[in-house]
Homo-oligomer: 255 residues x 2
DNA sequence: GCTAATCCTTTTGTCCAACAAATAAGAGAA
DNA sequence: TTCTCTTATTTGTTGGACAAAAGGATTAGC
């Protein structure tokens, strides 16, 4: 009597095999359940604090096994959109920011060189290439604030505080652009940027070389010297690349 | 005959109940497996491209059931540190930035005038201000591809298809920068950008004025004419601003 | 001998059923 | 009424089965 049925041929109605051939990225049952749950949240207009149906109810609703639903729930938990407790069930939360931080405290995986280069390249576009916009908007108060944050970095007691202050300096710089989209993206990227800042540095570096580089950038900004500003900032951003190591990793086995 | 043993009392050795009281966040079996795998990666010094042991091997090594190991693997996949394929197994990757950005594609941003201006400003920084980088990287193939996508937009049957093709054009433009961080940010902003593109337009506009603007941009890029390129692109991006309504909200600094 | 199609084996993907643990809710006693 | 104990429900974990994918070994055909 068919002890285990194991997911009736993809879909009881449609002959999926052809579809599966055409579409290489066949969504797994778990992915489908995740999409279903997201759709459920959307259509019911659920917000933080609201509860989701029980696992078994979701099994029945989406015609999936409990393990499949549980794996889907694991994804949602990992994304920080729900918390699950026994008997209580799944409750919608918003811990996405914490999760983003968790991602890069994941010391087990070293940030790849490609990621490193892309992030620094992105920052270079936002901070260096936008020189005209920054010069347009920067006022005396901004200069003062930048100097204060640079001193805070120099005087920070620990490595973590120093890199936090370092980020704060650059965040202030881009905030001069007065563009929420930019600051939001920077906020999301903060964990990676922090780790990049600490890469190959010791505490003392923040108080000496990094401090001096920041000072040069501020001076150029205050003097409205475009060339010097771009040179100083570009130099500052590229420095970490050397400490990262030789770029042999990316090579596609030159055979 | 004890068909299912189900995790012998937490730990065969230690009396955990006290611990459980002291420590409110009692780590689940899945969390422990995740920690074990992280430790395994660290102690073996595994990097991007290396493979993890098979699921059943991990079960045996950590004394956990396969479902538990699978849920742990789901977490690692959600974190973007491994990819798993049948028969191949789990391979270490680094898609954490992509996942971090993904986290924030959940919320449906409502587009205010300020948001609209910021998004367009952001695009202007990425597409216009980076002119030197784009000129450095753009090749004949890129020009051809841009022309193809522009024609696709002109010939699109519906409004939705046209705006999709419009986005595709701009995505191709920024992809010339060869920076995953930029393309990822564009990808998550896609829904908003699409809505901006359709704002105050009729289907015909994509085939006439928008098509011509794109053509001008491509011509300038091909001719390596920086001034013309920046002018054409900036003009193109600012056009939508007028159709959005009176800009009384965003007090433009009177220069 | 060499190529190509076929079979085989390994590994992940999904399903099912059971028991353990946690806990909210209700029943019962003071 | 209020506190405590029981109960029922829900998540957490386990074991086992089969399906599907994919690489490797085997064999047929030239």
């Amino acid at each position: 009597m068919a002890a285990v049925t194991a997911r009736p041929p993809r879909d009881a109605l449609a002959p999926l095999p052809f579809d599966a051939v055409i579409r290489p990225a066949a969504p797994s049952a778990v992915d489908e359940v995740v999409a279903h749950i997201r759709a459920l949240i959307a259509e019911r207009g659920l917000h933080v604090g609201d509860s989701l149906p029980t696992e078994r109810e979701l099994c029945q609703r989406f015609q999936a096994s409990r393990n499949t639903v549980r794996e889907a729930m694991r994804i949602l938990k990992a994304y920080g959109v729900v918390t699950v407790r026994p008997k209580i069930g799944a409750v919608i939360v918003d811990n996405r920011l914490e999760r983003a931080l968790d991602l890069f405290s994941f010391n087990t995986i070293e940030i790849s060189r490609k990621t490193f280069a892309d992030i620094q390249g992105f920052r270079s576009m936002i901070e260096v290439d936008t020189v005209e916009r920054i010069f347009d908007h920067a006022g005396p108060d901004d200069i003062t604030e930048l100097r204060a944050r640079n001193r805070a970095m120099r005087d920070a007691p620990t490595m973590a505080d120093a890199s936090e202050a370092d980020f704060s300096f650059h965040l202030k710089l881009v905030s001069i652009l007065n563009n929420d989209a930019v600051t939001e993206v920077y906020r999301i990227m903060k964990p990676v940027i922090i780790r990049i800042m600490e890469k190959g540095k010791v505490r003392q570096d923040f108080g000496t070389s990094t401090y001096q580089q920041h000072a040069d950038i501020i001076d150029a900004l205050e003097a409205r010297n475009r060339i010097k500003y771009q040179y100083a900032l570009q130099y500052h951003l590229e420095l970490g690349l050397n400490t990262f190591g030789s770029p042999q990793e990316d090579k596609r086995s030159p055979e």
